[in-house]
Symmetry: C2
Subunit: 422 residues, 2 copies
């Protein structure tokens, strides 16, 4: 079995968590100074590990092994949600670094994909890497909070003139991403590892309401066109209607509301909310979207404010490769017998983008209390080290199988869903 | 009759509107650089008009006539709501300047009271001037948007070490404030002047919801403590319950909503809204507040989020002085026969604070389309000039009456409501 250095792994995770540290967590939104510091720190670690490393034109940090032979790509992302936790995607990236160091005879490449967290657009870096982004996309994306155009942010970060790296130039046999679970299912069942079967699709919308801004004292109730009232009515209607449209594991969230001008003495003339929903079943997602469209149409008919709805993000559900799942499961059973399960991922991950072009898989470790995207996010040191050992062992087994004269073609290809998505 | 210079009046209003100009309106929140520029500009104009002028410790701009005899205080405020209109309080202040210039033989003082618009606390300047603010109040107030403490803002504006001026050192016979109507009642009736009978009281609250911040994909719907959902439910309950608690002319507004952290992929752990309501009847205000308290208690009992409610502002209703109303009405009838009416004010004004210590009155001019607190706010030039002429004429008549050997005591004193409030 592969041998990883648990102390070295933990030390690197802690060193990365110091960059943009906030309380017990980390604040590293994409392309901020802290985020760019983290990318440069990671590139230096990958170089030290003997990988040829570059930060590409969208901020992807890619380290390439100098070894010949079947290639394996390990990674995740290192930027964070605002004021979020220290592990999240950083775990999978530092696992990649540690596995590459521990298995120097295998051609292991490591990637930290930019902006998985969608400060500009979800999974921006892995979509660039898989060539599913157009130049037009890059020109229209903007920061979800500040409105800064992506191209301006890339220029400010010194990235705009760099080439964008592509998966076709690396041709890995497989992509494997480790991540914290971000839910409490493993912990509540007393398990320590999750082998992911599929990743939910996400549909995200911005819904805007236009009324008339006016004085909050002199405008009679009957004469108002209050965009905030329209928003509250709409949000209530979503809460009432979605349970019957959704599937048993669907989730939906209104994460942001803004009233303009946002003053207690002024009737809001404009209001806006961000709504997203997730499910592994595209049919369920379609049903929820139809419900949303109906509610928007009804709100527009009722008045007095007008309503508009636009897509702000969309990822399709993706199934993980069955043979990679098997390898992860066997390694999990060797290291922690009976303490693992197969499970879907409620969160989106770069693996779903990669899965369109290459066999992909994911490994989960438990989140204490199910908490993530918050500074108290954590995983026990024992589980952090266990997960890395299982990942290294699975890669070792896969490389041995691939190296034993088996042609690359005998490794699993992207599954039905991935082929369909192409 | 007094003679004012309409062209000079309009030129001064336009010059003031250039400071902090935004589109066709003005952006001059209290103590910002633009607001302080405007205060210095005004002080220079008052000095030019022969008034001894000072900017005091909370930013009040006070110009004092060097004349002896019965004193009249005219004014309003010059800071604005965010991205608001060019007239609003500026109208009443520049009226004061123009009337003082036009009636040099009368002891006319002019005031621009700071922060009537409640960026820190409603009618902060007039409450300081009437000594109804404690030092403790000044230490606890903070900017409603940025959270900056008032004392820090006063230091940054260079005001913190200045004395605070007091009405007792000036002892005016009366305070008269002109203002745009900010509603469409005058325009819709074809009238040009409103003599105000009373000013609504305002109660303003911040209501906060505490849940648990978590990942929007991995946290099952049943396991969530979503502070945003709690806020939307509460706001809906307010919209359902308030109509039966309110009076026929009551108004209520949710002008601001904030979800934390405000990201589409994170379940809000905290949420907050600002709610205010207004009526001329304190009993109606009590009933609305009781309803609000009941809804807060119900939301807390229902869970899963906790709810807290705090006062963020309160002004009591105030009646205007009947004899000052009579003088304004006679002047209105001389200048625009049959084109005026008596009416309540749905907006709060410094006059309600002054009315606790001195006879007070207000004069309204029409707002085109009823619009205010928006950059399209406007009043016709003819109506602007007419309002100033009526104000000057009323002051002239009142001064003549006071100067004709009538003791100051024969001028009206603060009415029943004002006496009660003391």
């Amino acid at each position: 079995m592969a041998r990883i250095d648990g102390a070295r792994l933990l030390a690197d995770l802690r060193a990365l968590a110091e960059i943009g540290r906030w309380q017990t967590g980390v604040h590293r939104p994409t392309y901020t100074a802290a985020d760019m510091d983290a990318r440069r720190w990671l590139a230096a670690r990958l170089e030290e590990a003997g990988l040829d490393t570059a930060i590409d034109g969208v901020g992807n940090v890619i380290g390439r092994s100098r070894r010949a032979g079947p290639r394996f790509l390990l990674g995740s992302h290192i930027e964070t949600q605002p004021y979020a936790g220290w592990l999240d995607g950083a775990l999978g990236v530092i696992y990649g670094l540690e596995v590459a160091r521990s298995l120097p005879d295998i051609a292991i490449d490591v990637a930290a994909f930019a902006d998985e967290e969608a400060h500009f657009s979800p999974q921006l870096g892995s979509r660039s890497f898989t060539e599913t982004l157009t130049d037009h996309d890059l020109e229209r994306f903007a920061n979800r909070d500040s409105g800064q155009p992506l191209m301006a942010a890339l220029r400010d970060a010194g990235l705009a003139d760099r080439p964008r790296l592509r998966i076709r130039d690396m041709a890995p046999q497989a992509y494997i991403e480790a991540h914290i679970e971000q839910g409490d299912e493993l912990e509540s069942k007393g398990l320590r590892l999750g082998v992911v079967t599929g990743i939910v699709g996400i549909r995200q919308f911005r819904i805007g309401f236009d009324g008339v801004q006016n004085h909050a004292g002199t405008t009679r109730m009957a004469a108002r066109k209050d965009a905030g009232v329209a928003l509250v009515r709409f949000a209530s209607a979503v809460e009432r209607a979605f349970p019957s449209a959704a599937g048993p594991r669907s989730v939906w969230t209104i994460g942001r509301i803004a009233l303009e001008p946002g003053s207690p003495a002024v009737i809001p003339g404009r209001a806006e909310l961000d709504l997203q929903f997730r499910d592994v079943d595209a049919g369920v997602l379609d049903r929820m979207e139809e419900t949303l469209e109906r509610l928007v149409a009804e709100a527009g008919r009722e008045g007095p404010c007008s309503v508009r709805m636009e897509y702000t993000g969309r990822t399709d559900p993706a199934l993980m490769d069955p043979r990679l799942q098997d390898a992860l499961e066997r390694a999990a059973e060797r290291h922690a017998p009976g303490q693992h399960q197969r499970m879907p991922s409620g969160a989106g991950h770069d693996a779903q983008t990669l899965a369109r072009l290459v066999p992909a898989a994911m490994l989960f470790v438990p989140s204490i209390g199910g908490i993530s995207h918050h500074h108290t996010e954590n995983t026990s040191e024992e589980d952090i080290v266990l997960g890395c050992a299982v990942l290294a062992d699975a890669v070792d087994e896969l490389a041995t199988a691939a190296g034993n004269g088996l042609p690359a073609g005998s490794l699993p290809q992207a599954g039905k869903d991935a082929a369909h998505a192409l």
